[in-house]
C-alpha cells in the first residue's frame, strides 16, 4: 500500500518536468519497453475505434471471386475461403478482442474488489467463506474454468466477457484482501473511526483508494491473459460466434487445412493476437515497476 507520489518520484529521479507532455516524455525515456508497449496498445485501440474508416470493405461481406486470394494489391492481407477481406477482418477483430479483454478485466476487477474489500474489512465467517471459495476457484486453470463457463452460458459476446471475468476474480480478491488487512490497522483508519465515521464510509473512501496501485498493476497484467483466453475460447469454438470477426475463430477456421494452401489466413490473425498481448505485457511490466517499488527489478 505504498501510495505513489509521481511528482516526488520524478523529482527524485532528477527530472525537472512540468506539464503532461514532458512528464510523458520523461516516463517514456525511463521505461522504453513500457513506452513501446503503450504505443502498440494505442495503435490497436485506434484500429478498434476507427475500424470502419480505415478498412475499405465490410469484414462480413463475401465475394466468391476473391476466395482464398493471396495478399496483394486487391486484398492487403489476402482473403479467406468465402472471399472476405482479411485486412478488414483483422482490423475489426481488434474491436472484439479489446472489448472482451477490457470488459472481462473490468468486470473481474470490479467483483474482485468488492469481494476482497468486504472480506478483508469484515473478517469473521464471511472472510472464511470467501477464502474457501477462492481456494476452490483457483484449483481450476483459467482456460478450463472459462471453457465450462462459456459452455454453460452459451456463445455470445456478453457471455464470453462474463465467462472470462469469473476466473479473474479470485486473484483480484486475494490481492485486495491482503492490502485491506494491512491498511485497516493503520492509525488513520483508527482516527477516522474515532471521528465517528461509518464503517462503510471508511472502507470505501479511506481504505479502497489505497489499494488502487496494486489493483492497476494486477489489471494490466490480467488484460493480456484475458485477451489470450478469448482467442483460445473462440479458437475452440466456444467463444465469440459468427459473424463477429474474432481472431481466435479466424484461426480455427483456417487451422490445419489452410496451413498448406493459404498461410496468410494463419499468419495475420495470430500476429494480431500476439502483438496486442505483447504490448499489454510490456505496458504491464512498466506499470508494475512504476507503481510497485517492492517488485522493482
Amino acid at each position: 500500500m505504498t501510495t505513489v507520489d509521481h511528482s516526488a518520484e520524478l523529482a527524485r529521479a532528477g527530472a525537472n518536468v512540468t506539464g503532461w507532455a514532458s512528464r510523458t516524455l520523461f516516463l517514456a525515456n525511463r521505461y522504453p519497453l513500457g513506452a513501446f508497449g503503450a504505443v502498440i496498445v494505442i495503435l490497436f485501440v485506434f484500429a478498434a475505434i476507427f475500424a470502419d474508416v480505415i478498412t475499405p470493405v465490410d469484414p462480413t461481406s463475401t465475394n466468391p471471386a476473391k476466395s482464398l486470394m493471396a495478399p496483394g494489391g486487391q486484398a492487403l492481407m489476402g482473403a479467406d475461403f468465402m472471399g472476405r477481406d482479411m485486412y478488414s477482418r483483422v482490423v475489426h477483430g481488434a474491436r472484439i478482442s479489446l472489448a472482451v479483454g477490457l470488459g472481462s478485466t473490468a468486470l473481474g476487477c470490479l467483483i474482485g474488489v468488492i469481494i476482497g474489500l468486504a472480506s478483508g474489512y469484515l473478517l469473521g465467517w464471511f472472510d472464511l467463506l470467501v477464502q474457501r471459495v477462492i481456494d476452490i476457484m483457483q484449483a481450476l486453470p483459467l482456460l478450463v474454468m472459462a471453457l465450462v463457463m462459456a459452455a454453460s452460458l452459451g456463445p455470445s459476446l456478453e457471455n464470453t466477457i462474463i465467462a472470462i471475468s469469473i476466473p479473474l476474480i479470485p486473484n483480484v480478491a486475494r490481492v485486495i484482501r491482503s492490502n485491506t488487512l494491512a491498511i485497516r490497522e493503520l492509525p488513520y483508519v483508527e482516527a477516522a473511526r474515532a471521528q465517528g465515521m461509518s464503517e462503510v464510509r471508511i472502507a470505501v473512501f479511506h481504505v479502497l483508494p489505497n489499494t488502487l496501485a496494486p489493483l492497476i498493476v494486477l489489471a494490466t497484467a490480467q488484460l493480456g491473459a484475458a485477451i489470450l483466453t478469448e482467442a483460445s475460447l473462440s479458437f475452440l469454438g466456444l467463444g465469440i460466434p459468427e459473424p463477429h470477426p474474432s481472431w481466435g475463430r479466424m484461426l480455427s477456421e483456417s487451422a490445419a487445412e489452410y496451413v498448406r494452401t493459404a498461410p496468410w489466413l494463419v499468419i495475420f490473425p495470430g500476429l494480431a493476437i500476439s502483438l496486442v498481448v505483447f504490448g499489454t505485457n510490456l505496458l504491464g511490466d512498466a506499470v508494475r515497476d512504476l507503481l510497485d517499488p517492492r517488485q522493482r527489478s
Binding site: 474457501r132 476452490i136 459452455a151 479458437f235 490445419a256 495470430g270 500476439s274
Partner: protein
C-alpha cells in the same frame, strides 16, 4: 508438522468437495441437455421419446438426487457412463491420461531446460543488450497463443519437410513417441519457459545482492562458481513454487495444442465432451484436473520444506 499435514489434507478434501458442487451446478446452467441436442440434430421432436431418454439418463430426477448419485458413485470408484459413447467413463478417460501426462512432462522438462539457464544469464548480465533481448523473448513467449505457435510450427514443417507431424495413429516405439510429442511439447513448453525465465531472473537478482555472495567473491570464487553454484542454489527455491502454477498453466496450453496436433489426450477430450454436453465425462474430467492441481500444489509445498531447511510449517 503432523497436524499441519492433517489440516492441509482436510482443506484439500474441502476444496475438492466445493469443486464438485461448483462444476455440477455450472453444468446445469446450460440451457438444454444432451436429449435436446440429439433431437435438435435429428431435426425432429417427439416428446415421448425425449422423456424416455431423459429418464434413462436420470436427467428427470431432481438436481440434488443427480448430484448425490454422482458423488455416491465417485467415492465408490464408479464414474458413470459417457452419454455419447455409452462406455464407462473410466474406460474413456483412463487411456487418454498417459498421453497427456507424457506431453505435460516433456513440456515441463523443456521449459526448465530452456528457462532456467536463460534466466540466470539474463540476471547476471542485467541491463545489457543481451538481458534486454532475453527479456523481450521471454515476454513474447508469454504473448504468443500456444495454438498459434503450434500452427506456425505446422506451417514450417509443411514448408521445409513437406509433411505435417500430427497424430494419425498410436506410436510404435519409444523413439516414435518422443519424436511425435516433442513438437507439441515444445509449443506448450515455450510459454512456460518464459514464466520460469522471468522468475529465475528476478530471484537471481535478489540473491546476487546478498552478503554471502559478496563474501564468496571476496574470497576469490570465480564468477561461474558464484553465479551457478552459490547463487543459483538459493535462487532456484522460489522457482520451484511455480511448478504448481505451471501445472495449471500447462493444462490450459495442452487443451489447444492437443486440438491443433490432433492428439487424443484428456485435454482435447474435455473440449469435445463440453461441446457434446457429455456431463459424466466433463464432471469427472474437471474433478480430475482439480485433483491434479491441488495435489501438485501440496507436493510443491512439501518439497519446499525439503529444499529449504529454514522453512518450517507451524502447527
Amino acid at each position: 508438522m503432523a497436524s499441519y499435514l492433517v489440516k492441509r489434507l482436510l482443506l484439500m478434501l474441502l476444496t475438492l468437495f466445493g469443486m464438485s458442487v461448483l462444476i455440477f451446478v455450472m453444468l446445469r446452467l446450460v440451457p438444454g441437455n444432451i436429449a435436446d441436442i440429439v433431437f435438435e440434430a435429428a431435426g425432429m421432436i417427439d416428446d415421448a421419446d425425449k422423456a424416455q431418454i431423459e429418464a434413462e439418463l436420470g436427467l428427470d430426477q431432481p438436481i440434488i438426487v443427480q448430484y448425490l448419485q454422482w458423488i455416491g458413485g465417485l467415492v465408490q470408484g464408479d464414474l458413470g457412463f459417457s452419454y455419447v459413447s455409452e462406455k464407462p467413463t473410466i474406460e474413456e478417460i483412463g487411456p487418454r491420461i498417459p498421453i497427456t501426462a507424457k506431453l505435460a512432462l516433456m513440456a515441463l522438462i523443456f521449459s526448465i531446460v530452456l528457462g532456467l539457464p536463460l534466466g540466470v544469464i539474463s540476471a547476471v548480465r542485467q541491463n545489457t543488450k543481451l538481458d534486454y533481448a532475453l527479456r523481450v523473448i521471454s515476454l513474447s513467449g508469454l504473448s504468443l497463443p500456444s495454438f498459434w505457435l503450434a500452427l506456425l510450427i505446422l506451417m514450417f514443417c509443411v514448408q521445409y519437410f513437406g509433411t505435417i507431424p500430427i497424430y494419425t495413429r498410436p506410436p510404435d516405439t519409444l523413439w516414435d513417441e518422443l519424436l511425435l510429442y516433442s513438437i507439441p511439447a515444445a509449443a506448450v513448453g515455450f510459454r512456460s519457459s518464459a514464466l520460469i525465465m522471468r522468475l529465475t531472473r528476478s530471484s537471481m537478482l535478489e540473491v546476487l545482492r546478498q552478503d554471502y555472495i559478496r563474501t564468496a567473491r571476496a574470497m576469490g570464487a570465480s564468477n561461474t562458481s558464484v553465479n551457478y553454484y552459490h547463487a543459483l542454489k538459493n535462487a532456484v527455491l522460489p522457482v520451484t513454487t511455480i511448478i504448481g502454477i505451471e501445472a495449471a498453466f500447462l493444462i490450459g496450453g495442452l487443451i489447444v495444442t492437443e486440438t491443433v496436433f490432433n492428439i487424443p489426450g484428456v485435454a482435447r477430450f474435455l473440449v469435445e465432451a463440453i461441446l457434446w454436453r457429455d456431463y459424466p465425462i466433463v464432471q469427472n474430467l474437471v474433478m480430475f484436473i482439480a485433483l491434479v492441481v491441488v495435489v501438485v500444489n501440496f507436493l510443491v509445498d512439501l518439497l519446499y520444506v525439503v529444499l529449504d531447511p529454514r522453512i518450517k510449517y507451524a502447527d
